[in-house]
């Protein structure tokens, strides 16, 4: 193969050490770069947990650290999903929390007192450094060129597709899962190459760790069997494949069943059946191979293929039968939505309502991967040219994950590693070809022999035909270097601008260019924490459940776990119905406060009115005759909040709570909703069953207290009417016109 530039410069035995040292230094630098590019958010804002899910992970980690492992394992959380509660210990992937708990205790043991919050914030960057190293190892298995691994490590370290889920503070399962994914693949490739039980066992162990960390382990569960299956179909069965796969499967399945949340899924769920099927198939193939040692003849090949087909057909039939008869759980909804992108929207609105489950937009690929995305096919092509077992793996991985990444935005994450591998192969191939300073003398020697053999295969067998002109060498290398530089600057730009916002704290620019921090969320959550009783139940849309639990420490009705669709639909119904309908629901669920997010004043588009249709849809899924999505649209099918809004819309609790008193901000003028660009009706909505308790500085969060039952047994609307009729003066005196608070 092509001799890399370093070998030319540093030949000889002693220089091997130099090269090794250089490689280690480069890897350390890459890891450092990977870590430091993820620290934008800490520097810009502060060391804070981001977004939604991380808040739950953080809360669970705190519980783990305080109460110990066994308590954590048996944790029944009665402060979420009121009044149901949640068996938290059995319904989460504990890998992330346990990892940070272990780090915490180790640091404690070394007498380095670190706050658990800082560990949680910095866990993702730390693991991304490790991911870069794992990537180096993985790519080194693919290519003989030493530069490929280093390039892959660089790509993996800074590519935005991965950074998007692993900036400092995004303390989510993916933070460690991608490292585990890459490392498990590395160990698997190692196992297939060496055919040793040890590598297979290690792969199984890391697979088990991966299972404990992320639901995306199903990807590995299906990819590895597929790899083996393709190898079998290509007639590449060897004892190495048998040893590595069966060891991995037997141990890995057991390991995965140790996690309570996964439990018996690996033998019950159809998602895992392909692994089992390939396991059985491999046993048959191994036996057939064993018998072949004693039976001569070429017909065995035929026999073998026939047997594979028959057994596979039978297994598929059995699988279908078992699924139909209900022994094996049917495919999970998320799985269906992978094949039919419209499925979720029709059947499971709760899945479709999550923005990261939407199909990926085309620009996102370039945005997240930059020039890697067009090098990706070239790298896959290079894999085809060699096509050893490990290259087959890359090809399969590439095909599968590019499909999945197209279906769900979130799965861009699984595409990123293979893109990095393939692109690194391509780039290193280019660089190895063009960065050689000496003229290719050996190329002229090998040419005639290659010509003699088969001229058609010359290009495949001897890729370095030789580039003689310095000009073209210089031109191509300069071009690649420019691309690489552009990539780095693109990554840095994307990271700092798109992916480093905590979304708990918003940043905006003042007219003079200085940064202005909008901290409404925390303001409101701390208000809840300090002004409400510790057992006050807060109702909000499920997006904010984890944050309320984590920051305000108050029980919530629903949260981001979304395990109970009916309960969420109840909340959706309460939000989208008239007050008279909502109030009994609120009373029945002991709700003390209702929290809504409103961006109309600030132009913050992620507010509840924009999510409102999902609430309606989810509620409609359970109560189709009480909540109808059509009623919230105008006759012309528009979703409006202004004068033309439908009565159903205007009477819904969510609408009223969002725009309550909004008029008074604008003095005499007409209120304007800046998100939807709509002029609101002159007459603001009236609330009778809830009363305003708190509104944050920029009105992003509004909290309402649910009124108690009336003392005289009247219903609330008549009580309010009575109050207004007789005490109008006092009411206006007490409540002057609201003004926007300024600091």
């Amino acid at each position: 193969m092509a001799s890399p530039s370093l070998d030319v410069l540093l030949k000889g035995n002693s220089s091997r050490n130099v090269r090794g040292l250089l490689r280690i230094i480069i890897l350390c630098t890459i890891a450092a770069a990977a870590v430091s590019s993820r620290l934008f958010s800490v520097i810009r804002f502060e060391s804070i947990i981001h977004e939604f899910d991380p808040w739950f992970n953080f809360r669970a980690t705190k519980y783990l650290v305080q109460h110990g492992f066994y308590k954590f394992w048996d944790w029944f959380d009665d402060r979420t999903w009121h009044p149901l509660g949640r068996v938290t210990g059995g319904t989460l992937y504990p890998g992330l929390m346990v990892t940070s708990g272990v780090i915490y205790h180790v640091l404690r043991f070394l007498t380095i007192p670190v706050d658990i919050r800082n560990i949680c914030v910095l866990l993702a960057p730390g693991f991304s450094g490790l991911t870069a190293l794992a990537m180096y190892l993985l790519t080194n298995e693919m290519s003989s060129s030493p530069s490929a691994g280093l390039l892959a490590a660089v790509f993996m370290g800074i590519t935005p597709g991965y950074i998007s889920r692993s900036v400092a503070g995004s303390y989510d399962n993916e933070a460690i899962a991608i490292f585990l994914l890459v490392f498990t693949f590395y160990l698997w490739i190692k196992a297939v190459k060496n055919g040793s039980i040890m590598w297979g066992t290690l792969a199984a162990l890391f697979y088990g760790y991966m299972v404990s960390a992320w639901g995306g382990y199903v990807f590995i569960t299906n990819l590895i069997p597929l790899h083996v299956f393709v190898l079998l179909c290509m007639g590449r069965y060897t004892s190495r494949v048998y040893i590595s796969y069966t060891t991995w499967y037997a141990l890995g399945t057991l390991a995965s069943m140790q996690i309570p949340f996964v439990g018996f899924l690996p033998i019950r769920n159809s998602d895992h059946m392909s692994a089992l099927g390939v396991f059985g198939l491999l046993q048959l193939v191994a036996f057939a191979d064993f018998v072949r040692g004693f039976v001569p003849g070429k017909q065995f090949q035929k026999l073998l293929t026939a047997m594979i087909l028959i057994v596979f057909g039978f297994a598929l039939l059995g699988l279908v039968l078992l699924t139909v008869s209900g022994v094996i759980a049917p495919w999970s909804g998320r799985f269906y939505s992978l094949w039919d992108t419209g499925y979720a929207k029709v059947h499971i609105p709760i899945i479709a309502s999550v923005s990261e489950h939407q199909p990926t937009a085309w620009p996102a690929f370039f945005f997240d991967l930059n020039f890697l995305i067009w090098l990706f096919p070239a790298g896959v092509y290079l894999c085809f040219r060699q096509l050893k077992d490990e290259h087959v793996f890359v090809v399969i991985y590439a095909v599968l994950s590019s499909y999945f990444a197209g279906v769900m935005v979130r799965l861009m994450l699984t595409l990123t590693p293979v893109v990095c591998v393939a692109a690194a192969l391509a780039v290193s191939h280019i660089l190895d070809t063009y960065l050689v300073a000496s003229k290719p003398s050996e190329a002229s020697e090998t040419k005639p022999t290659a010509d003699n053999n088969q001229s058609g295969l010359r290009s495949t067998r001897n890729p370095v035909v030789g580039v003689y002109s310095y000009l073209s060498k210089f031109f191509i290398s300069a071009m690649m270097i420019v691309y690489l530089l552009l990539f780095v600057s693109h990554c840095t730009w994307v990271t700092s601008n798109a992916y480093s916002s905590p979304s708990v704290v918003l940043a905006s620019r003042m007219p003079d260019g200085s940064q202005h921090i909008i901290d409404d969320y925390r303001e409101a959550y701390y208000w809840l924490r300090q002004n409400t009783p510790a057992n006050a139940k807060i109702m909000s849309w499920w997006d904010y459940g984890y944050q309320i639990g984590g920051m305000a420490d108050r029980p919530t009705l629903v949260d981001n776990n979304t395990w109970n669709n009916t309960h969420i639909a109840t909340v959706g119904k309460a939000m989208s119905s008239r007050e008279e309908v909502s109030y009994p629901i609120l009373r029945q669920h002991d709700v003390d406060y209702v929290l809504v997010v409103f961006g109309g004043l600030l132009g913050y588009s992620g507010d509840d009115i924009n999510k409102f249709l999902w609430m309606v849809r989810i509620a409609e899924g359970i109560w189709p005759d009480e909540v109808k999505e059509r009623d919230y649209f105008t006759a012309r099918g528009e979703y409006r909040v202004d004068d033309e809004a439908t009565p159903t819309m205007r009477n819904s609790l969510m609408y009223k709570m969002s725009y309550y008193n909004f008029n008074s901000l604008f003095g005499g003028g007409q209120a304007v909703d800046r998100v939807r660009g709509a002029r609101l009706p002159a007459e603001g909505p009236q609330l009778t069953t809830v009363e305003e308790a708190f509104t944050s500085e920029n009105w992003i969060i509004r909290i309402y207290k649910v009124k108690d039952l009336d003392n005289f047994g009247r219903d609330h609307s008549s009580a309010v009417a009575f109050d207004k009729g007789h005490k109008k003066k006092r009411a206006t005196k007490k409540k002057g016109p609201r003004v926007l608070r300024t600091e």
């Binding site: 055919g195 039980i197 066992t201 290509m234 590449r236 190495r240 141990l251 057991l254 140790q258 070429k298």
Partner: protein, 175 residues
């Protein structure tokens, strides 16, 4: 092509199963060495009864397997038996302690698989010299395996390592 090198176990086989017993042996035995087409051997096998082939395989196996490998095979057979008994019990008597059944069953399966792997590694000399199907690929494989053959001690250490982890998981899972 694979027909080129014929290792010791397979060399006597074309003649021995067919010649003494099967009625159509003279004609087929003459065709098989001279014209090794795929159709020729198939008819040979098809004509001789499957029981005959199985018996032949069994004798061949007993004759050519070393003592240590036989021991491993006996162990594997025992494991199959244990797994089968557990499975039958599960089907007949219900799967009430499902964890216990699963861990017992998968301990048997896992140990079987590990033993099979060990067997493959330790008896690799006879197995790997045997020709594989695709010519181009086999060369690659053979080259790789020629570089790093796994020593028996290493294989056994791996086996112990894998078994330890397997049984750790099983005991943890049994409740």
């Amino acid at each position: 092509m694979p027909r080129r090198n014929t290792p010791t176990p397979s060399s006597p086989s074309p003649a021995s199963p067919a010649a003494p017993i099967a009625a159509s042996s003279p004609s087929t035995s003459t065709t098989s060495p001279s014209a090794p087409l795929s159709s020729g051997p198939t008819t040979l096998k098809a004509n001789s009864s499957p029981v005959e082939i199985a018996q032949h395989v069994w004798h061949q196996y007993l004759a050519s397997t070393p003592q240590r490998t036989l021991l491993l095979d006996a162990f594997m057979f025992f494991l199959v038996l244990v797994g089968g008994v557990q499975f039958v019990y599960c089907v007949l008597a219900g799967n009430y302690p499902f964890n216990a059944f699963l861990s017992g069953f998968s301990a048997a399966v896992g140990q079987f698989v590990l033993t099979a792997s060990l067997r493959m590694q330790t008896s690799a000399e006879t197995k790997d010299s045997k020709p594989n199907s695709k010519g181009k690929n086999v060369k690659l494989v053979a080259a790789e395996e020629g570089e790093t053959p796994i020593s028996h001690e290493r294989a056994f250490a791996d086996y112990i390592f894998g078994s330890l982890i397997l049984h750790f998981f099983c005991i943890n899972f049994i409740n």
